[in-house]
Point group: C2
Chain length 293, copies 2
Amino acid sequence: MNPCILVQPVEASADVAVADRLQVVDAAAPQVSVLDLGVTRGDGIFEVFGVINGHVQAVVPHLRRLAVSAAMLDLPELDLEAIREAVVRVAGMAEQVPEFSVKVVVTRGVEGAGAATCWVIAFRSSDDFAAERITGVRAVLLDRGYPHDIASRAPWLLAGAKTLSYAVNKAALREAARRGADDAIFTSSDGYVLEGPSANLVARFGNRILTPAPAQGILRGTAQGAAFEYFAEAGYAVGEVLLRVEQLAEADALWLTSSGRMLVPVRELDGRPVPVDRELTDAANAALLARTE
Amino acid sequence: MNPCILVQPVEASADVAVADRLQVVDAAAPQVSVLDLGVTRGDGIFEVFGVINGHVQAVVPHLRRLAVSAAMLDLPELDLEAIREAVVRVAGMAEQVPEFSVKVVVTRGVEGAGAATCWVIAFRSSDDFAAERITGVRAVLLDRGYPHDIASRAPWLLAGAKTLSYAVNKAALREAARRGADDAIFTSSDGYVLEGPSANLVARFGNRILTPAPAQGILRGTAQGAAFEYFAEAGYAVGEVLLRVEQLAEADALWLTSSGRMLVPVRELDGRPVPVDRELTDAANAALLARTE
């Protein structure tokens, strides 16, 4: 049901052929040690690749981002070729539904062992993103607690790294649900719009389509990047900017983007309706879903 | 080497006898699913009990704090009696060295399964706390990024919950090492002293012994609590306060406290020497190490 491959060793320094690093395992059986820092400290990183009609999307941007996260956490340099091979192989082993995902997890490994743990697994999201692209979602703004320039001032806070320490992201989603919404959008303590717990925010203002600049400790979005290529070709001016919370009220459209979502319209923000650009949403999603890489 | 007991089910709602919930497992073999939210999202909580000369310390305060963390994360209510039994049993199974620790981990469980995962394991810290009580440690101040009143304003940030999402705490320790120090002390973005990544801070000013108030999103320290009982009996005025960073320069002694450390003197802060109160440190540690509960 969830094809899974362990990549061991995953360190670039290990002189082992790619084929000898990959081991197909049973995801239904326990595979992780209770002493693994991934589970005892959320001390690791991950990436989620979208797989559309059998094609793994944005492989290079995801691997690049994984390497950035690894560097931010002082993890060893990873053998990205082995990880890429595991991603492709797991995608091929999965039930070939039109849309599913492949997740790569890298942890610092068992405490004291000095070797990272890595597995790659295919799964189907419990969210119905295909429906959300049509119906849109209700979102609420939640304070992330940090000023927008925290990443440069305090890199040890790991803002902008895709770590396994996502308890806050999950708590934000529960808070959103308590407020009758489907998703959250984080804001900085000094009034800037940041990102969602598992998505980037994209906003259209007339002919301009903008996303909060990654330098604010935001994850650089792979789906957002692909969407911006589409928008640029379609004649929009795209850009990464500092976006004030109050500017959102003037947006002609808001979307959440991620490798599973593509572009999901935000139809309501903090209980107030947000315009939905049906035509552009559908056109952009059609383009994103037609990608073969 | 690391006796380990799974507590399954751990939910208070499950009508299962305590003995039937506990299962001794091999900690050297994998016990955690790659689909467990504990490892995929750092979505869980933990507690570490000190065991001194065979006596598990501060059982009730630790279990109370575990229950508080569970509530903050909207985890199910836990069977604390089963967890307590597992803690005592694991402590009894461990090699009886003078000081070791028992850790309880509770995760939200396998995604979609709707049952929490819990294990209890004995281990010996890789830190030589016995030596540090004598030699002291060098610490650096690191910005935690949040204002001191974040916990009441934004509970979804889980400040003050002991979650598995400790990647930032570990990154702070690496930053401290880069700066030539042994440990870190977090400060709020508005200039208050908070806590260490795995310890509380205690400061003596003359006859007053103070610790930053837990309402600032700080974990209430069990060892700090025990130390304050000792200090109060020894005639000091103890209190939980808002402590400005600049006040640290006037302290007559600083300590880091945790269930493994007891009281470890901070002998240097950001490269400047801090007075060490040898007599009080030794007396308080002797009292803490003599506890039978």
